[in-house]
Symmetry: C2
Subunit: 426 residues, 2 copies
């Protein structure tokens, strides 16, 4: 299968340079970029009409299936939200739920220009099934769970998912967080990391109290603790990273650990603002994540881009903080690095054909004075005209190219959300 | 002309209750809401397919024609931005420019669900012309200008615009700001207010230095100064209101002055965060504005809604701050109050037919657990399916119903933006 995109503006993300040309896709890879033989034989020719092609966004921290909790418990205190609204409803989750609930999230990713996500939630095998069905690239965080997922099974998934021929999934090892970890979980996770050499992923430094509690319990920060266990010997990422000491930042740098910042979630839950400028000054890789739809509530990388730079400008009282191209890198290249997707970083030959087309004819993109600035400062989901993942177009001009009827997906998810929304008295 | 919207969910904004029913429009007004005679004769029947009808957003502070400066000078310091990038290019503006440059902004308002704006910029008569051409509701801020607009002319515009039969424009009196006001401007503005009894509008409390400078120059805050001149005897609004003393807040309350908060602009220019919670606790009316496209850079009321509550949650360290319905009121009813548009507050009989349809079939609106929460926390411009102003549909399903070809508008604005972008050495 050979597809030609002609008459495009192209942003490879190797740098901020934008040029005019064509892109040739062969099967799931980018074959040629720039001047190509327009008269060669192609299975499909798409005239971009001067619109922009660029790598898709990488959402490096999310809990996709939490769609069922969207708008269920907003405007409540963090403790009540988590313990009275979220956890009791999550207790209702059973086999079969995640497969359906994830679909709404995938539709939102795809129509918003996100081509891959790192997902952490219950029943990861069901999330993988849905991603395979839709054709969505994903990295799944496998976590030891005494009851439902012993290490044997995790290792089996690790081998299977990572060795699938032309697979869309990767599998990595993680934990929920230091504060929810029981002693055996740390041991079992250490075993997993030792056997797989996987990078390690976890929530870390989301709230001040989380760090304070760990300091008083263990005499060290959560990051220092994980590092003392050699969990970061093969790198990895921390989700949120709002509360980090200078010593933590040294560890991040030394161990090549990414900070996945989730500015919308941190803002809505009043957690705080991560010090991104300081992290970048210390050469720490920073990526972006939406967190789940219960805490954000959108799965919208344009929102995260605007917020990550806006909040830095506010806290540093300096409008020069975090310029547009740095932000665009966080949402694309840096995310791919965080997720270990080396072939999903750039719009260049040999890389995965995970490409989006930006509609420069939307009013918010006009006039075209500076496309990168337009994307970051006036961009929103409505400017995404096309989303291609692994060489397949999944969304074009407002229409999904998904087998299942969209209204059927919504009906099922609504029914589940209603059922799962009932909190059984304990 | 009689239009029936049937099979709708309806949010009047009188309260947060949403019900199913129909809406009948007759000419430019809402005629019936709820259960209506579906078999009566209508010129057009629109099946809403269960989607939401609600009042359009009111953008209570903007400089629409600044589209030509969008993305021209981002990521620079406030002083350089204003004095090296913005002012020198604005000096290039001549007759004929504003008429064209405003068009891109109107397209962005309309497609993003904004049905009225309060605009403050050069050549207001040209802005009015474009609004009339498009069918966009507007409030124009007239300001005395020694060279181009003496009081005589302002009073003429005031009478004409406010007395037009079925006109889309209102005309009110304002100044740019205390810090740009020369002595004669205050005198001339006092004269205008005395003759018109207009509410008074101005930028106020945007930066800390603006307030400090005024305090040291005049021994009072800008708001105290304007109040001492009796400028607020007929109410009005201040734009931004980030830096306000307790005494200022007393004046706001006493004089029924709205604070038009512009959270995106204040964030991007690193100005600070307005204390909205405190203002509301003191019964001050708070509306929302985008500010101009050079400082935001989008003209997107969904962005402002998310930011105004998110930033309050962050600065107050309290996720309960500013719940969703309060925010939605700011973006609609409170804006109409700020702009003196008493007939554009609610989706109720007798009010202007300024209505938007929200596409509840977008993934970010699913599942439908709480529509108001969905609108504020996961809404974005792509969920606007239809925009009607003054009984006319200006946008439906991604297409504008505007006479002029959209690409012609863009071509003209691009050419102007390129020409006006050249800074002549002084």
């Amino acid at each position: 299968m050979k597809i030609l995109f002609k008459n495009a503006k192209i942003l490879t993300m190797k740098d901020g340079h934008i040029f005019e040309g064509s892109v040739v896709i062969e099967d799931n890879l980018i074959k040629e970029v720039g001047e190509v033989d327009l008269s060669a034989s192609y299975d499909e020719v798409i005239d971009c009409e001067g619109n922009l092609l660029m790598p898709g966004f990488k959402n490096a921290h999310t809990h996709s299936a939490m769609t069922f909790l969207r708008s269920k418990a907003d405007d409540s205190s963090l403790h009540d939200w988590l313990f009275k609204e979220i956890f009791p409803r999550e207790d209702n989750l059973r086999k079969g739920h995640i497969r359906e609930l994830s679909k709404v999230a995938l539709l939102e990713y795809i129509s918003g220009g996100t081509t891959a996500c790192l997902d952490q939630y219950f029943f990861p095998e069901e999330f993988k099934e849905t991603c395979d069905e839709f054709g969505f690239r994903n990295v799944i965080l496998g976590m030891y769970d005494e009851k439902v997922r012993p290490n044997e099974q995790i290792l089996k998934m690790y081998d299977e998912y990572n060795n699938e021929k032309d697979g869309l999934s990767k599998f990595v090892i993680g934990m929920h967080a230091e504060y929810t970890g029981k002693p055996d979980m740390f041991d079992k996770t250490a075993e997993l990391l030792e056997k797989t050499h996987s990078p390690f992923y976890t929530h870390l430094g989301e709230t001040a109290s989380e760090v304070e509690d760990c300091l008083s319990r263990r005499g060290m920060s959560p990051l220092e603790y994980f590092d003392s266990l050699h969990f970061y010997d093969y790198g990895g990422a921390i989700f949120h990273g709002v509360y980090l000491s200078d010593k933590d930042i040294e560890i991040l740098k030394k161990r090549h650990i990414t900070v996945v910042s989730c500015p919308a979630s941190n803002m809505k839950l009043a957690s705080g603002v991560a010090e991104i400028k300081k992290l970048l000054a210390n050469e720490v890789n920073v990526a972006l994540g939406t967190d789940g739809p219960a805490s954000n509530n959108a799965l919208d990388m344009f929102r995260e881009m605007y917020l990550v730079t806006g909040l830095q400008k506010i806290i540093s009282k300096d409008p020069v903080s975090l310029p547009a191209f740095e932000v665009l890198k966080m949402a694309t290249v840096n995310g791919a690095i965080a997720m270990g997707l080396d072939k999903a970083k750039y719009l260049c030959p040999g890389q995965y054909a995970d490409i989006i087309m930006i509609d420069l004819q939307k009013p918010s993109m006009q006039p075209i004075n500076n496309i990168i600035s337009n994307l970051v400062y006036s961009g929103s989901k409505d400017i995404v005209k096309m989303t291609m993942i692994n060489g397949k177009i999944l969304y074009f001009d407002g229409k999904f190219r998904i087998k299942e009827k969209i209204s059927d997906i919504y009906d099922k998810v609504q029914k589940m959300s209603d059922e799962l929304g009932i909190i059984r008295k304990s």
